[in-house]
Subunit: 359 residues, 4 copies
Amino acid sequence: MKKRVAIIGVTGAVGQEFVVSLKDHPWFEVTQIAASPRSAGKKYLEAIKDPNSGITNWQVGGNIPDYIKDMTVVSIDDLKIDELDLIFSSIETEEAKEIEARFAKDLPVVSTSSAFRYDEDVPMLIPGINDEQADLIDIQKKNRNWKGFVVPLPNCTTTGLAITMKPLYEKYGAKKVLMTSMQAISGGGRAPGVSAMDVTDNIIPYIPKEEKKVRIETAKILGKLKDGKIEPADIKVSCTCTRVPVIDGHTESVFVETSKPIDPKSAKESYEEYSKNISIAGLPSAPPDYFAVHEDPTRPQPRIEREVNNGMTTTVGRLEEEPLFDHGIKYMLFSHNKKMGSATGAVLLAEMLYKKGKI
Amino acid sequence: MKKRVAIIGVTGAVGQEFVVSLKDHPWFEVTQIAASPRSAGKKYLEAIKDPNSGITNWQVGGNIPDYIKDMTVVSIDDLKIDELDLIFSSIETEEAKEIEARFAKDLPVVSTSSAFRYDEDVPMLIPGINDEQADLIDIQKKNRNWKGFVVPLPNCTTTGLAITMKPLYEKYGAKKVLMTSMQAISGGGRAPGVSAMDVTDNIIPYIPKEEKKVRIETAKILGKLKDGKIEPADIKVSCTCTRVPVIDGHTESVFVETSKPIDPKSAKESYEEYSKNISIAGLPSAPPDYFAVHEDPTRPQPRIEREVNNGMTTTVGRLEEEPLFDHGIKYMLFSHNKKMGSATGAVLLAEMLYKKGKI
Amino acid sequence: MKKRVAIIGVTGAVGQEFVVSLKDHPWFEVTQIAASPRSAGKKYLEAIKDPNSGITNWQVGGNIPDYIKDMTVVSIDDLKIDELDLIFSSIETEEAKEIEARFAKDLPVVSTSSAFRYDEDVPMLIPGINDEQADLIDIQKKNRNWKGFVVPLPNCTTTGLAITMKPLYEKYGAKKVLMTSMQAISGGGRAPGVSAMDVTDNIIPYIPKEEKKVRIETAKILGKLKDGKIEPADIKVSCTCTRVPVIDGHTESVFVETSKPIDPKSAKESYEEYSKNISIAGLPSAPPDYFAVHEDPTRPQPRIEREVNNGMTTTVGRLEEEPLFDHGIKYMLFSHNKKMGSATGAVLLAEMLYKKGKI
Amino acid sequence: MKKRVAIIGVTGAVGQEFVVSLKDHPWFEVTQIAASPRSAGKKYLEAIKDPNSGITNWQVGGNIPDYIKDMTVVSIDDLKIDELDLIFSSIETEEAKEIEARFAKDLPVVSTSSAFRYDEDVPMLIPGINDEQADLIDIQKKNRNWKGFVVPLPNCTTTGLAITMKPLYEKYGAKKVLMTSMQAISGGGRAPGVSAMDVTDNIIPYIPKEEKKVRIETAKILGKLKDGKIEPADIKVSCTCTRVPVIDGHTESVFVETSKPIDPKSAKESYEEYSKNISIAGLPSAPPDYFAVHEDPTRPQPRIEREVNNGMTTTVGRLEEEPLFDHGIKYMLFSHNKKMGSATGAVLLAEMLYKKGKI
């Protein structure tokens, strides 16, 4: 018997990614879908049509999966909670505060919004990186007197940094991390999203609130669950986040000061070892390689990496010594903001929680 | 009486920028132009035509200046040296070693190539930044027993970093500089230059040899001329250089550890003060503002900045404290690689040398 | 004494182009500026700031002209009509219906909106193409009992087609015109305008309402004023309008069946002759060349042509016989949608009307 | 027993597409691979490395298939012909004249080059469109006294036009076809291919020789095999071919004068009917839909369509009456130049020939 899941915010860009990520899923079956009252009562195919132009607003590559076309979208308030085992939420942060909390009283909610990320009793999980923080869920349930819970993903720019820092932080310590991101257009949403007049042949050197999110989230994710609380990692992160004319996939240039001696070869080995022993191996949405580490200095390139393993592999390249620090290394990373950093990552997270018996 | 100048490598992309930068120049008059034997004997307009397609290969915006159209291109060996006062060279580095040295026996040579940049008795000059290093020219002439001399510009990625570091280095010291560049396509040349298949919707995370150039050149430019030698500045630079889908103008994200306390406000004032007292004020190719410092966090943007003051102003934005260092600051800069970082910068350099009586 | 002009809709993208086009104008002086109540009472520099982000929303290349920075924006209702000689309007079509009519009671209104384009007593003027239709203004004034009048520009996609068809239509007749446009992003406006997710690495094969506009407008512009009415030209136009990833400037591929024999050489001569005898020669905003006709088959190219003569020259290339018709020709054209096709074209239009004594 | 095939030109961009298209093929097995002497003797992975930079020059999306990595590339002269059943050739046209003829003495050669396209006894085949012309192969073999034969694909711009004209031509006749193409960057090759400086934010209005190819090839493909010869179709084609900043997939805007009455609805039905009865149904590389016809006017869009059915479906949109002709229609089409128009199309062609017993 598959778990019965609902997608809320199913008509938006991230909701559509959920639709694709859950197609033919071996463990989860989409049995209900919900969106704003404007879409309620319509079949999915109808609901994603622009009412004025009649144009189908399908924002994900490839075709719309058949399974969803004729499903009827309901208003979020009309979901039948007792016929569900799990909710995937991609609604806006402001609404999420209230709505996700309401559902979490009864059900597990895996969310891409930032509404609960910084709450003390909420773990912000990246499958394969901080699975053990999932135990905070039990405390959350107790604290809030909920039968369900809320687990958010981090911001998609944090995802790549936290993933690539994890093996280094564990083995070498990481005192300082200085990062410059070159983020994809799709990270800015789509209706209307980033204006072509702003980003074509251009760089926008600022993404509101992004840098603060990366700083706080990285430390929380790499932290330790101790005495029912997450103690943030002892890692100082500074970053400058920019938007570049790239459609999908975030690239980040990272300089790290480590506590212990490090060199490119041993760093590469750390990634490969981590990849080999990855906790989520074999889960339905897990990539065959958690990390891809390139010695070819022209990698990572977003147009190439985004196709690799359905965007679920994190790519590292340009691993070089950083002589400005006593011990240090520099590298570039690629992380797919619409896949590992978003809905598909959320599905992988749910798979991990399911395996752990949390769902 | 205007100084009589020759442009060598006049048919290439940088040569064409020289043609535009010297149009109606009040002090310099282009009296001879030279290129490879293939072009020799042709009128300029003919020489820049593709022999197969008959297509005019004019690579600079706007129209071809009238003054150059009917000038006859000669072979480099056929320049009449005794009818010249100055040479602008944009030939390839490998040829430049021999050719520029040959001309420097008799004439000042201002060059965009890297052939002589790292020679001990050759100053690498950015007008407004290290004008006083021009005195090394006298030593160079003596050393080499030349009547003329060679003065190169730095690499166009160095230009923006060295210019923006200068006021900071002088006032606050600069122990560590960690920079990530997002460089324009035009920096990769044009025949064929960067392939559209490589850079469209993509980032190329590596530019061969670029990072080493930036490290060495920045220290030399910010150094001091002492006892007939340039003592490199005590500044450690690390950088990662990338190519992005932007046509003109390099953007750089910079993190700096300074020796003394610094904050965004005082940094901004330093730039403004430096700009107000700039050495090259009033020279024909000098911009009205040497620096433009923005508080608007969405600046610099290459598509906007490149139009400002004909690409001769260096833009600074996102000045913020860098709390990872005891004292530190971070910022983003824009420098136009085809203007201040190339031919127009070379013309401005020649103007500065002329004023100093070196030409 | 310069004519006192107001710009209404001065904070928008087209309004900003007006600001630039009227800088240091020898005949017109901007004495009042107006926008929506939200901007009223603010200095211009303040008015174009985003209230949330504090970001200056200047959408035109280069710097904001000094003359406008401290001018106070008033509400459109608060313009002092008796202190004005002329109004440039770039307000939205829906508002324009009422507002432009209101002002036209007293003043000449030159508009980029489509509100009045299709009215029988309103000429849709392209300076240099159908200047003689300006006489319809007198009938309009009489009809409507106005002291002023409204004169709109055509749609920016019509502009290039009508301009390039004019010399052909006059000399060879034009029975059928089949056109495919490749239109620039900037034609889609800017707040938010075309989404980068839609147009990057993509073509949007449809622009709502555009094709109908081009069909109707081209016939009206090339028509004859006769007995107080414009008789549309006997020219059948069909077109497919697309949006491509080009920032500024529309490119159109045109196939024409003419009534009389035509060949590329004589077509080229027709353009050159027309250009030489252009009615608007010498007007302050007129380009030195009305047409640029290239034999080089790689022209027109938007990134090159848009820089030529401040975007006021219309470029024709690829003139070839069209053997599918008894008599026919095919060509490609470039017309700058933000310059000749918008505010700067409107200023040139006002100059022409001024010379004619209509203003 | 699978057919043993060789890929010649295996290191180039099209060769790499063959490598991917033949991965896990149920009928064909790549047993030999060949390229220029420079690559001979190297393992494939080594052969596609840039000798200077050490960079792997893999030009196709996704990963390099495992099966090819360790295969040794041989010189074309060293292929073992008697151990082969079929050759896929993607070598340059000039070499192809001699080399493909040499192999065709013994083996079937399916080629993407233009070397033999215009020979009287050579059919230029698009699987699903003119399969019956395959019978010309027997005449070719007899004529030339070959045991094998050569069959080329048409030019990739012809492919989309010929495919979409076929159902119309059959049912309504097609007197005149006026087409404007907007072709992808990848069509210009890759080493170096189209320069980013040329095509970014730009349109190149000319592709040498392309238009003539489209004219001649379309008539040949739609022609009839009669008395051992192909009688070209009675269809007049005119076109203007341009290059736009789109990575993969050609878009074409088409105006057609038909002999018989036509309307969008019946045209759509013709495509759907053709698709339903498509000759190549069920072949391993055949798409589930030969045509996708959209009523949504915002389709086709290259970034969407290229993902549909692995680029093997041809998309038609904007079907509208063309009132300029007595009977006529206009539409836009999308055809993937690297898939249906290149190597994958060639594999599909080989599958069709295999089914027919020609291989």
